[in-house]
């Protein structure tokens, strides 16, 4: 039986593990930690232990009923393409292709020097103008294209069935999805069809230099904790990746695995018997979440004091040619729409310039602005966490500062 193991020789009975446990899963008796039946093997206590006395015995972990044996035969990195309502490829698809190219070039620690290829999976309507060549141009070695009248479908089970079937035939090593509403509904379904692991909403991907495994890092606990997750035995390794966290590199087709071979388009068929069980009746578009794509952003927080100061902030954003974002409390107070919210439960933004006014910097908010290149923060409190995420700090009243900046910009 696998379980939490306490090294009695190391444990000093400090009880940090007890405080770290949210489930009452560990107790300290006579200066020695002991796991209880409430332990969920979440690992929090292991991180908290200052003397490395705790570990999880994985002795009886399944070695993946055969999946491990041919893991080395799985080599392609797949990116599932997503299209918008107008049929255009979403930016996150290009971000993932660029990232997949970078991952494919990591051969360290691999005994087999096989080239990993980048393969895009594209499902489009039978009559739609094909976007396959755009995916090739972005750096895909191959596009698996399915043109079928059943796409796009409100029933993600149809697309899931297609991708699972293709993966069973072709054995990708890794499958990446955008952590969009579609990707986060689609990927789990594929994970159970393939009986493999899936890491949600990753903000960082890298290759473990020793094992060649995909290291998938994601926020948990509302962004208060980051976890790095691996899927050692089962294939494919699957992750949904938050839009806006990876840059689209310029001409990534130039970095293609073998320059001699141009990308190929392979047409694949969808199971003729599949019938969608979810039907779209109506669609109410929301004002596109433009702040996620904004190059310049003014973000305001509770520090602006009152709702009447919003017009001042809007004027400033206008003068700075920037979009306006805000923190969650402002949305909850009804001052601005949800579409403006930056953070863990709002939009992830990646502007070149971000001016933050009256934002204290709750970690959930900071989780959504990690992609910003230059951050200028104004806050009265010199110890506000926002300054830990800023490149330039101004300690002072954000209203007075905004008025002065507006005055200068107008003159």
């Amino acid at each position: 039986m696998s379980g939490l193991v306490v090294d009695a020789g190391r444990c000093v009975g400090c009880k940090r593990c007890v405080r770290a446990c949210a489930f009452g899963g560990i107790v300290v008796e006579e200066r020695l930690a002991r796991p209880t039946d409430a332990c969920t093997l979440c690992g929090s206590c292991i991180e908290a232990c200052p003397v490395q006395a705790l570990s999880i015995d994985r002795g009886h972990v399944a070695t993946g009923d055969g999946a491990g044996a041919d893991a080395s035969a799985c080599r392609d990195i797949w990116v599932v393409a997503q299209l918008d309502a107008a049929g255009a490829v979403l930016p996150v698809t290009f971000e993932l292709i660029a990232k997949a190219r970078e991952l494919a070039s990591h051969q360290k620690g691999r005994s087999l020097l096989v080239e990993r290829r980048v393969v895009a999976v594209l499902a489009e309507g039978a009559a739609a103008e094909s976007r396959a060549s755009q995916l090739i141009a972005a750096g895909a070695d191959e596009v698996l294209r399915c043109r079928d009248g059943r796409f796009p479908s409100a029933d993600t089970a149809v697309l899931a069935a297609l991708i699972a079937e293709l993966a069973r035939e072709r054995h990708p090593e890794t499958v990446l999805f955008g952590a969009t509403a579609l990707g986060r509904e689609l990927a789990p379904r594929i994970a159970v069809l393939l009986q493999t692991g899936l890491t949600a909403d990753c903000t960082s991907l890298s290759i473990d230099s020793e094992t060649g495994l995909l290291r998938q890092t994601r926020p948990a606990f509302g962004g208060n904790l980051m976890a790095t997750i691996e899927c050692p035995v089962h294939r494919p390794q699957m992750a949904t990746v938050r839009p806006g966290v990876f840059p689209v590199t310029g001409s990534s087709c130039a970095q293609r695995a073998s320059d001699a071979a141009p990308g190929v388009i392979t047409d694949v068929a969808l199971d003729a018997t599949l019938r969608p069980r979810v039907r779209r009746l109506d669609m109410k578009p929301v004002a596109a979440g433009t702040i996620a794509q904004a190059k310049r952003l003014v973000v305001v927080g509770r520090g602006i004091g009152s709702k009447k100061n919003l017009s001042l902030m809007k004027r400033l954003a206008e003068l700075l040619d920037a979009d306006l974002g805000c923190t969650r409390p402002l949305v909850e107070a009804g001052w601005l729409d949800y579409a403006h919210q930056v953070g863990q439960t709002g939009a992830s933004v990646a502007p070149e310039l971000l001016l933050s006014l009256g934002v204290s910097g709750a970690i959930q908010h900071l989780a959504g602005m990690g992609g910003a290149q230059t951050v200028i923060a104004v806050n009265e409190d010199a110890s506000a966490p926002i300054f830990g995420a800023a490149h330039y700090a101004i300690v002072g009243d954000c209203i007075g500062f905004a008025e002065e900046l507006i005055r200068q910009l107008e003159s």
């Binding site: 405080r19 409430a38 918008d84 089970a157 379904r189 966490p385």
Partner: protein, 281 residues
């Protein structure tokens, strides 16, 4: 009779995490466990469907299902106090350490125990999950359960089609109409039953338990089952059945390289105007 199963997760009362500045270790002051707020909303949706059906003269059974430590029984009893008809807790050392794949498998065995998923259940059924749990934020259990049961899934349901939450009018044993969040906006769909839906936290305000409910819950039996009781293959549960492993967890760090702009207000504003005009640093 319609059967609705609500999947419930016990989560720490607070998601606060901080780094001990001396030891650089994680201090997670979890406090007492509570029902994941999204799941509390899911239960409320189920109860409103039950009430709407009752108003039309139809009956509906609402079950609460959870996988967790034995103490989770208290939270399931609270679900009964709020109006669930029965509750099942899957609790076993063999379930511990589960990732979402192993959790969804265990829950699927629990659903079987409740009479759902053996292919020819005569009555219509619906599974309602919270869109995500506040501690894990994965939002994967709903779609994974739907995949295991081979039924459609609609995630992030914001409201029932029709006026407000009026499931009675928008629901029939064959299909239901809901509005849910998609990438382009809010989509109204018709989904065939049986199905899995996941709901946002704001869809409805969960009710408080009634006095009668609390009294009834005191006498109610929360069924507790282990892996063997529900015929679960322990190679597919808990740590053993989890393809993913957490290899490291850490409190996110921020770069300390922050330059403070001093001087008069006018000088500070001029400096920002220049940064803004001169592009990135």
């Amino acid at each position: 009779m319609m059967h609705i199963v609500v999947c419930v997760k016990a989560v720490p009362g607070s998601t606060e995490v901080r780094m001990d500045p001396v030891t650089h270790t994680i201090v997670r002051d979890g406090g007492a466990a509570v029902v994941n707020p999204f799941d509390a909303a899911a239960l409320e949706v189920a109860l409103r469907i039950k009430e709407a059906l009752a108003a039309e003269g139809s009956t509906c059974r609402v079950s609460a299902l959870s996988m967790g430590i034995p103490a989770t029984e208290v939270l399931l009893r609270d679900c009964i106090a709020r109006g669930a008809d029965d509750a099942l807790l899957l609790s076993d050392r063999a379930f511990a350490g589960a990732d979402t794949l192993a959790t969804s498998y265990a829950l699927s065995r629990g659903l079987r125990e409740l009479g759902i998923g053996d292919g020819d259940a005569p009555d219509p059924w619906l599974i309602i999950c919270g869109k995500m749990a506040v501690d894990g934020d994965t939002a994967q259990i709903g779609p994974e359960l739907a995949g295991l049961l081979d039924v459609p899934c609609v995630t992030d349901v914001r409201s029932f089609a029709g006026e407000g939450l009026s499931p009675g009018r928008e629901y029939s044993p064959e299909r239901m109409r809901v509005r849910h969040g998609v990438d382009e906006g809010i989509e109204t769909v018709e989904v065939q039953l049986p199905a899995v839906i996941t709901v946002s936290k704001d869809i409805v305000q969960p009710r408080m338990p009634s006095i009668a409910g609390v009294l009834a819950a005191r006498a109610a039996v929360v069924e507790v089952r282990g892996a063997a009781d529900v015929g679960a293959d322990t190679a597919r549960t808990g740590l053993a059945g989890s393809p993913t492993q957490v290899v490291r967890s850490f409190v996110p760090e921020r770069s300390g390289a922050c330059e403070t702009l001093t001087g008069t207000l006018a000088e500070q504003a001029a400096c920002v105007a220049e940064l803004w005009g001169g592009g990135v640093r």
